[in-house]
């Protein structure tokens, strides 16, 4: 990407802390709804962003291609597009490809080429790689982002998609015509970076496979986390908190098979003094997780909403140094940085609460297991 922006350093060249707004909505019954509510919710928190990045993740939006990885790609040149497509042809069956539909918007400028590919790994390549298809796809995505200058895959899950740009999030939503998509859950992010990057890839959500993370905070553990996770084949090219958090969740949940609650016990591990007060069995597990994955503890302020196939998880740092509100009404659960961002789309929730620091709120679709979890409870972590 370096050759395409000469003005200021981009993510990946410099570390840019940022404050933010986040919001998430899920229908536990799996009823699909458009991206409009997410747009309305984030628009209320306009002042928490500064126009330097906004984005959305929608789940359940591609039911007709549900078995294929949906790759969303930014291109900054036609050569980058050619190289990337050559790479994709070499590694995947391309089921469908098209430009992602957008609308001209006065506040969204300098857009790159934005393409979408529905793909599935080439069976022969996959077999010879001795990897499962998720790992195969993840490695391909990481390779493109690291090695093909001017190409950036910003979404790579199945039946989900990330839409992001430089701009205010509500404008980004209009730009991508999110009224036209329907999903069972949405997350959205408005960004307030303390520097002036002009690069679309640096907007959030950050995503790998079907994990997407929106995050508000600045973690003080960044380099400890980064240097540890990079041992396992990840490459933190953007140097953002969200990127490293996503990789850690991918590692812990997908590769190590931890449940989301166990993941929370690693990245927002209870204080030792809290662990001491738990039952013997819990104490052993918490001590084990904290010791084994010590370098994946996140310190400093954060509130995140993790999107995954079949659910959302919201999590605060252990001291709750960032605001995070949750609410529910009927089959809907709402998560946001501010209560106003919930009330604007759901004026009278049945229940509204402020989750405690380090206690995850995990919401999964009814009748469906949340990932490898097996959590049947619709909402936990009160």
């Amino acid at each position: 990407m370096n050759g395409y922006h000469q003005r200021t350093p981009l993510e990946g060249e410099v570390r840019i802390p940022s404050g933010c707004a986040i919001s998430g909505i899920i229908s536990r019954s799996g009823k699909r709804f458009s991206g409009r509510e997410a747009i309305s919710s984030i628009a209320v928190m306009h002042d928490r962003s500064n126009g330097l990045g906004g984005g959305f993740a929608g789940y359940g939006i591609y039911p007709e291609y549900a078995d294929f990885y949906a790759l969303h790609v930014f291109y900054y040149s036609s050569e980058a597009k050619r190289s990337c497509e050559d790479f994709l042809e070499e590694h995947f069956d391309l089921i469908n490809l098209s430009k992602i539909p957008t609308t001209k918007h006065h506040a969204i400028t300098d857009e790159p080429l934005i393409w979408r590919y529905f793909v599935t790994p080439l069976p022969t390549k996959l077999a010879s790689s001795q990897l499962d298809e998720n790992e195969y796809t993840a490695r391909c995505v990481i390779k493109i982002n690291r090695e093909i200058d001017g190409a950036y895959v910003f979404s790579s899950g199945k039946n989900m998609g990330v839409f992001k740009a430089v701009g205010y999030p509500e404008d980004v939503g209009e730009f991508y015509r999110l009224d036209d998509y329907e999903g069972y859950s949405w997350t959205v992010h408005g960004r307030y970076p303390t520097n002036t990057p002009g690069w679309w890839g640096g907007a959030h959500p950050f995503s790998l496979l079907d994990y997407s993370v929106v995050h508000n905070g600045e973690i003080s553990s960044y380099d400890a986390n980064r240097r540890f996770i990079e041992m396992f084949g990840y490459s933190c090219t953007l140097m953002t908190d969200t990127e490293v958090i996503t990789y850690m969740i991918d590692y812990l949940h997908r590769k190590q098979g931890l449940s989301f609650e166990e993941v929370a016990n690693v990245i927002a591990a209870p204080f030792w003094s809290t662990i001491e007060r738990k039952s013997q069995e819990e104490k052993e597990v918490c001590t084990y997780l904290r010791n084994t994955f010590a370098s994946m503890l996140i310190t400093g302020p954060f509130s995140i909403i993790l999107g995954f196939s079949g659910g959302l998880m919201a999590l605060n740092d252990r001291l709750k140094l960032r605001s995070l509100v949750a609410a529910e009404k009927d089959d809907r659960v709402y998560l946001a940085s501010e209560e106003a961002a919930i009330r604007v789309i759901c004026p009278e929730p049945d229940r509204l609460w402020y989750p405690s620091g380090g206690k995850p709120v995990i919401v999964t679709l009814e009748g469906q297991q949340g990932g490898q979890d097996g959590h049947q409870l619709p909402v936990s972590g009160l």
Binding site: S220, A224, F228, M231, E262, W272, S273, S295, L319
Partner: protein
């Protein structure tokens, strides 16, 4: 001495107006500097024997004494400095190796002093350790690489043996023999109270100290002094000493004069025989031999104790550490070339090895590149002088640090660097019962506890300042460090940016 006459390094300055001839200085000085002149009724001094240990100065009731550096000089010469000339005189006279003690006094760069620490401003909050939990607990030992579950899906929580430290600081190896019984007891008592560990060094474990086993690391060195099954099982961990920062590549020599009854028994060697540690372990000539010793010790202790392999920081340290990390060892301890010693050839001490900061940075990075950082914990020593050194070491990638010189200073050591004489006036590096009893273990341990507690407060304060409330989030967090006055190569090795970048 004749034509090789060496002018004393120090002058003993006595204010005769203040001196009351109480003769405390005379009684306190094992080097016999002071004496009472019956003829004049005054105290006098033979400064040629003075090592500048400050014992007399500290105990003089009228503050009549001070020790100053002599201004006697050779003709100035930037190349042939006075000490160089004197060393040649000494060797021309003796034909022997020059002996020295404690860490090198030479003016090598101290990288701790060329790194600055970050703090939070605006974009994230600093954390006040007086109001919020601030955690420094550290576990040392191998980490599982794959989560295993039982038939019910419960995580199997059994791990390789771990050392649990409430503070990421341990007292490093100093043998009984090189230091006194009371010094050892001070360390043991303090380790117990602090929830950390002290290290027996290579001289075995005195039977009185088995009771502190939970806070003891027992060492196995090339001389195998005092090693038997009871000893191996007495401690919380076993350290194989392959090398020492102050004298990489060479062994040790405790003269027979120091091998009294207790030490002879503890070391399991005859009374007054020299205790000589060979330069290498004669059963370890290669990395695969190390693996055999590691597992022999694990077998001897039923896989219940972590095995530490201690090596000196030498040029190829990252490859060596990588080999050790694959040897079955649980913890690697690296000792930098500024580390202390009870006795070492001066040329070795002052010229062999590399600084611990560079060794640590390159080992941590190499183990991560190879994806095996989780196989081992890293402990570093070799001149950790303050809590900020501790903090910087952890930010570079250490799990914990070893301190020894700092601990001895807390016990009263004034760094006169003559441990090898055996006449330590502070009761630390001596076996003379009259001198040993000057160090009260209860007082000594209290001072050690104070020191480490103070450091821990400072550590927490600085961690809080950078918005980190658990030590594991500091470990390897090199973005929290910036270099000052370092050139590109040094920055690259340390893996940090320059201040302002």
């Amino acid at each position: 001495m004749g034509i090789n006459y060496l002018y004393p390094d120090f002058e003993v300055v006595r204010n005769q107006d203040r001196c009351i001839s109480c003769r405390v200085c005379e009684r306190q000085c094992a080097n016999e500097v002071h004496s009472f002149d019956e003829a004049t009724g005054r105290m006098k001094a033979d400064e040629s024997k003075c090592v500048n240990c400050h014992r007399c100065v500290s105990l003089c009731p009228t503050r009549a004494l001070k020790i100053v550096k002599t201004d006697h000089t050779f003709k100035e010469n930037a190349n042939w400095k006075g000490e160089v000339i004197q060393d040649i005189y000494r060797q021309a006279e003796s034909g022997g190796v020059l002996l020295a003690s404690m860490g090198t006094p030479k003016d090598y760069p101290v990288y701790w002093d060329k790194m600055l620490v970050n703090a939070s401003q605006v974009t994230n909050p600093s954390i006040d350790p007086l109001r919020e939990p601030m955690e420094t607990r550290t576990y040392l030992g191998q980490k599982e690489s794959v989560i295993k579950r039982d038939a019910n899906g419960k995580i199997i929580t059994k791990t390789a043996p771990q050392l649990k430290l409430e503070i990421p600081i341990m007292f490093s190896a100093m043998s009984y023999g090189s230091i006194s019984y009371n010094a050892h007891k001070s360390l043991a008592l303090a380790a117990q109270e602090l929830g950390i560990y002290y290290n027996t060094g290579e001289g075995g474990l005195h039977e009185d100290f088995y009771q502190y086993g939970k806070n003891t690391i027992v060492q196995v060195a090339s001389g195998r002094f005092g090693v038997h099954p009871g000893y191996l099982n007495a401690g919380a961990a076993i350290e194989i000493k392959m090398g020492q920062g102050a004298k990489p590549g060479i062994g040790g020599h405790l003269p027979g004069s120091k091998i009294g009854e207790d030490i002879s028994k503890t070391r399991m060697i005859p009374l007054h025989s020299d205790a000589i540690s060979p330069a290498p372990h004669h059963d370890i000539y290669s990395i695969e031999d190390l693996r055999q010793l590691v597992f022999a010790l694990k077998e001897a202790t039923a896989y219940t104790k972590p095995i530490i392999v201690k090596v000196a920081a030498v040029h190829n340290i990252s490859a060596i550490a990588s080999g050790i990390a694959r040897s079955g060892a649980d913890i690697i301890a690296i000792d930098g070339f500024r580390g202390g010693t009870g006795a070492a050839p001066a040329r070795t001490r002052d010229n062999v090895g590399i600084p611990i900061e560079l060794a640590l940075a390159s080992v941590d990075e190499r183990l991560r590149q190879e994806g095996i950082r989780g196989n081992v914990s890293l402990v570093v020593g070799g001149s950790i002088r303050s809590s900020s050194d501790v903090l910087k070491a952890i930010a570079l990638g250490a799990d914990a640090v070893y301190v020894a010189t700092s601990a001895l200073i807390a016990l009263g050591c004034h760094l006169c660097r003559t441990c090898h004489s055996g006449k330590c006036n502070w009761g630390i590096a001596t076996q003379n019962p009259e001198l040993v009893k000057r160090l009260n273990p209860e007082v000594g341990s209290e001072r050690l506890v104070n020191l480490i507690t103070a450091w821990n407060h400072e550590l927490k304060e600085m961690m809080g300042g950078m918005g980190i409330n658990s030590i594991e989030a500091l470990r390897g967090n090199r973005l929290m460090l910036r270099g000052i006055g370092l050139h590109e190569t040094e920055l690259n090795i340390l893996g940090i940016k320059h201040a302002g970048a």
